[in-house]
Symmetry: none
Subunit: 207 residues, 2 copies
DNA sequence: GCCCCTATCTATAAGTG
DNA sequence: TCACTTATAGATAGGGG
């Protein structure tokens, strides 16, 4: 009841465009703005029939991407990596206004149906597989505990990379999980299950 | 002169998020929003210390790109060794194409965005895992890229368990890492710019 | 992390030069 | 194409659950 009298909120405040010091706040902002950016990209693509790809690495090293029609499709088309010259060779400079691109409402509707179909499949699969532990073990069967032996073979140069890759994979899996219907089992979380990676000092690698 | 009495302008009007029919208007919108998108990307990068790349093809075929620190830097990091990858066509859904739109365009747009985002992330993870995998795979030859198939095969119920398995693996790797000599090689902090982003055409930063 | 809320701030549609 | 204006639609900071 701190705000019994005044306004319930000060509303949006103006901020300077420079690195946000507070880590938590920075992460929240990253999330919000990343979504906003993806939405803008999506709208640009829909409104103007453009192909757009956005790739963002958080300072923690997580990757996020959006693409229309697909990130890969756009990047392949862009492809300054493999191609040599700057010659863009954009081709058709004229826009008759009837290009066959973009998402027509029908396409979106189809996507929506596809989504529901996927959900249904997952739901069915979920009902069928009640035994979690066994399923996972089975998924990794064939090479049980392969890492315990193989990790020893890795050089020190690969280890930090490997650790971070695993963490990204972990987060990816979590995000994937949150996409599925009914977030039933949020994982008991026996002990530590945080995020971020302050341990390794590889705070911002690149290669 | 028509503006004789009322307001000099009606101000911004609301528009539906769907392809703009008028070619000229669409072009104007593309310019404005493209700049807005780049600005947002720039702000995200500055505020959160993120690496961001945006590539956009106008329906006319012209390319525009923005990147922090550089487009190619981000794309290389994102798409390390994409070459040997399979080309998973969007798959998606086929639609008769004769159905009438039923759902709200905005809603579908958001839905499509969410789906694309998820798929893009999965693709990104797989791409990165392939890269790390190139080094790691040798160490664990015999179980090639087991996760690529398994992650997708897992249902919602199994995911939390899988996440924990990954964390155990991570810790295992870390323990091993701690037994090795120092592994420090922090990358130099990238210069940050909050400035405006003119408009980067391929011809401006040709490789 | 997610959603919701409010009060603002910011991007931008439309129009003009 | 750009620049500038106006007035409003949309994005989002801050805070709570």
């Amino acid at each position: 009841m701190v705000r019994s009298r005044g306004r319930p909120s000060l509303g949006r405040q103006r901020i300077e465009i420079r690195r946000i010091d507070n880590s938590g706040r920075r992460q929240v902002t990253f999330s919000k703005r990343r979504n906003g950016l993806f939405k803008k990209a999506s709208e640009l693509s829909t409104l103007c029939g453009a192909s757009v790809a956005v790739v963002a690495f958080s300072s923690a090293g997580n990757v996020f991407a959006f693409g229309q029609p697909t990130v890969d499709a756009v990047l392949r088309r862009f492809d300054p990596l493999h191609a040599d010259a700057e010659a863009p060779a954009p081709a058709a400079v004229e826009d008759g206004g009837d290009d066959v691109v973009v998402a027509d409402p029908e396409e979106l509707d189809a996507l929506r149906r596809a989504e529901e179909q996927t959900k249904a499949q997952v739901a069915a699969e979920q009902a069928r597989m009640r035994d979690v532990g066994d399923k996972v073990t089975q998924a990794m069967a064939g090479s049980p505990l392969w890492w315990e032996a193989d990790v020893e073979a890795l050089g020190e140069a690969e280890l930090p990379e490997f650790v971070r890759a695993l963490e990204r994979l972990r987060d990816s899996v979590r995000r994937h999980a949150s996409t599925l219907p009914s977030t039933a089992s949020p994982a008991p979380a026996p002990a530590e299950q945080e995020e971020e990676v302050p341990e390794l000092d590889v705070s911002d690698y690149s290669f």
